[in-house]
């Protein structure tokens, strides 16, 4: 009888310990996933900031209507640290890709966001970031 009780106690101990590990792993997993998504959030926040300040129009259209890659490059590099790579592509809805600029970009480890502007024939600004 005492032996069975000890066995039961040991079993309960194992179950409780395992459950603790499972719960803790879930806790860590959330943090792990966040670091992946941080790039996407950063890309979205940059595009939102650009939409709010008019930089999006300067980058996607410029004065000539064909975009301004130099301006976009300067605007991006003031916001991103050197260890973050980027790929910015501006696409016209009728003319296709207008320009692409990149720096230390690794597509395999990238996350990104897009912003659609409908001035004139419309533009898609695609910003992807990688570490």
């Amino acid at each position: 009888m005492r032996g069975q009780a000890a066995l039961l106690e040991a079993a309960l101990l194992v179950v409780a310990t395992l459950l603790t590990f499972v719960v803790a792993q879930h806790l860590f997993k959330v943090q792990y996933v966040q670091s992946d998504y941080a790039l996407m959030i950063n890309a979205e926040r940059i595009l939102i900031h650009w939409a709010d300040t008019g930089v999006a129009y300067a980058a996607a259209y410029g004065v000539t209507g064909s975009g301004d890659p130099q301006y976009a490059k300067a605007a991006l590099e003031t916001l991103l640290p050197p260890n973050v790579g980027y790929n910015l592509t501006v696409i016209s809805l009728t003319r296709g890709v207008i320009y692409t600029i990149a720096r230390g970009y690794d597509p395999a480890r990238s996350e990104g966001a897009t912003l659609i502007l409908m001035r004139g024939e419309g533009r898609i600004i695609s910003l992807r970031l990688s570490r």
Binding site: E9, L12, V30, Q31, Y37, I48, G54, Y57, M118
Partner: protein, 263 residues
């Protein structure tokens, strides 16, 4: 007894972990991404409204013949024409947007106001609200303040418009503009407005860009001698002004009351 203590410790660790999981601030990614995604979607729809407001101003100025052909209640006709172009432009843009994002939006409210003064009238405010099937709701609220002066410049006549565009009480510093002269001749019962381009063209891509830190923009237009010599002018000066992606725009229609040049 030793076993019970061990179980007690294990249960305590488990409960504490569980409590931490519940009580700690949820720094999970789901809600944060949802906020960013919503903000991007909202900005996109907001910018569709803004672009529609700007492009409708140029389209209106480009087809002012409709307004000028009928001298009765011109400000009201201007309002109707602008509203019509805003609707067309918005529908066109949300159609393309629906194809790209799979989100359908519609224009809920469009309120356009036209102000009239002696010798000129203009679109003084635009308020529009759009709602989409993904729950996004966006609006624009812009205003224009315009003062027009007619000047005798000797060989030429002059029209000087002081334009101030605002969005959400914030003055717009970068604008685009274009101006044209419409001469309205009456042949028996037929009214024939004839357009004479003065500054740029009524197309956002070919208009003139103008940046002024103060937000007050002076648009000065020279009237050619063949028109400014008229004692009873039959011409109107049309000026279209719009911001770049801010959603503020106006169309000014001015008519001098007498000779604008010479002695």
């Amino acid at each position: 007894m030793r076993g019970q203590v061990l179980i007690g410790v294990a249960v305590l660790i488990f409960v504490i972990t569980l409590l931490l999981l519940i009580a700690l601030p949820k720094r999970t990614i789901g809600p944060t991404v949802a906020i960013e995604n919503y903000t991007v979607a909202k900005r996109e729809v907001e910018h569709i409204l803004r672009n529609a407001a700007e492009e409708a101003a140029y389209a209106t100025a480009n087809t002012l013949e409709v307004v000028l052909s009928n001298t009765e209640n011109m400000p009201d006709t201007l309002k109707k024409l602008y509203t019509q172009y805003f609707n067309v432009s918005f529908t066109d843009k949300v159609g393309a947007y629906a194809v790209l994002r799979g989100v359908f939006c519609e224009l809920d409210t469009l309120d356009v106001k036209v102000s009239s003064y002696s010798g000129y009238f203009y679109i003084s405010s635009i308020y529009a609200v759009a709602t989409c099937d993904n729950g996004v709701m966006a609006f624009i609220n812009s205003a224009a303040d315009v003062r027009v002066e007619f000047k005798n410049l000797g060989a030429f006549g002059g029209v000087k418009a002081a334009v101030s565009l605002t969005r959400d009480q914030k003055q717009i510093q970068l604008i685009t503009y274009a101006a044209a002269l419409y001469n309205v001749t009456r042949d028996n019962t037929k009214v024939k407005p004839y357009r004479f381009p003065i500054l740029g063209t009524f197309d956002p891509r070919e208009s003139i860009w103008y940046f002024n830190i103060t937000g007050l923009h002076y648009i000065q237009v020279a009237i050619p001698p063949e028109y400014c010599m008229m004692r009873n002018p039959t011409y109107y000066v049309a000026i279209a002004t719009a911001s770049v992606g801010e959603g503020a725009a106006t169309v000014v229609v001015a008519k001098p009351s007498g000779k604008l040049c010479g002695t």
